[in-house]
């Protein structure tokens, strides 16, 4: 059953307002600020999005597409390492550009999306990583789950430095990438997180 016309319009206003508010203040803003910005009452907000997670999901569904696009662009690049770097860099750029997305990344990696797109994104990300490994550019002991480390690392740096020096994360990423090149690799002391573990971490918000 479709929404009534006014309800549909209010829904869009709410999502737009949330997008803006989340972007500049993070995922933990008071929801009545979102409602105010949308020109709608707090009751309507709760009516449409019973939980904060519902609103967050509505705001960031399109991000899965974006990630897919980034991956495709990465895979279209001639050099597998350049492709991998492009992927990581663009991901981080998105975090830097949107405080809400940065919060989301820190807590649950690019989750919160229709499952089919999510699976596709997952598959593409795996291919970006594997291709770079096959080419001997990315270190062989790196697995997709290790991307979480990269995202978490940059996320905190952006949080800390964003107001003072918005480009600082690029330096941090420089160090990180240098540690991921194959020739840099030294034995790691601990095995990678399993998919189940990553799953569990993501669930616990």
């Amino acid at each position: 059953m479709a929404l009534r016309k006014d309800a549909q319009r209010n829904r869009e206003r709410l999502v737009e307002a949330a997008r803006a508010v989340f972007a500049e203040r993070g995922l933990d803003v008071a929801l009545d600020e979102v409602a105010r910005r949308a020109g709608v009452s707090i009751g309507t907000l709760y009516n449409r999005f019973p939980t904060r997670a519902d609103l967050v999901a509505a705001v960031f569904t399109d991000r899965a597409d974006t990630v897919v696009g980034i991956c495709e662009h990465a895979l279209a690049m001639d050099d597998p390492w350049d492709g991998f770097v492009h992927f990581v860099e663009q991901t981080c750029r998105m975090q830097a550009a949107d405080r809400g997305y940065n919060d989301l990344s820190a807590r649950s990696i690019p989750q919160a999306a229709p499952t089919s797109d999510l699976e596709r994104g997952y598959a593409l990300m795996t291919e970006v990583v594997e291709r770079a490994k096959r080419a001997g550019a990315l270190r062989g002991d790196f697995v997709l789950a290790d991307m979480a480390f990269v995202i978490w690392a940059i996320s905190r740096t952006i949080e800390a430095t964003g107001d003072v020096e918005p480009q600082a994360w690029r330096r941090h990423l420089g160090f990180v990438l240098d540690g991921l090149r194959a020739p840099a690799a030294h034995p790691l002391p601990v095995p990678a997180l399993t998919d189940e573990q990553v799953e569990r971490i993501m669930r616990d918000c």
Copy 2:
């Protein structure tokens, strides 16, 4: 003017309780939980520590000594790179062992200490870094301010993985260290944060 005997005892109880509560729940716990754990009223807590920052400072003053100790041990090691690794590793170990300290690191680096010890710690840390650079082991474009990236990165990873896989940060640190070795170095896109910038980031808690 010295504190009265009972006041002194209560102060110690508060600091002990805070140490425990911060360690297991982080720096943002409700203060009345600290008071309860100390067997003291909330009024007494506020009486002795007017702000949360006062209490935090009291709990973590000794950490500056610990850092000094770590640095001295690092400088006593024959191999400058091993010394640097020891320093980083021990710092991260402290973060992993104490959620409150991890929070503190994420916000303001090992601050919150009597100024003299702080300066000494600062000087020693610089020497650990510079010695490793002089030996050609640590990349030449690394500066002390870049340690913030390491601390922030590990801090977030510990936060995310601590409950599920307490040793995961060691793998993350493995990647990080591989990026800091001299042979791994590629040109960085952005200059280091200045001391003033780091200062400013730290002040803003």
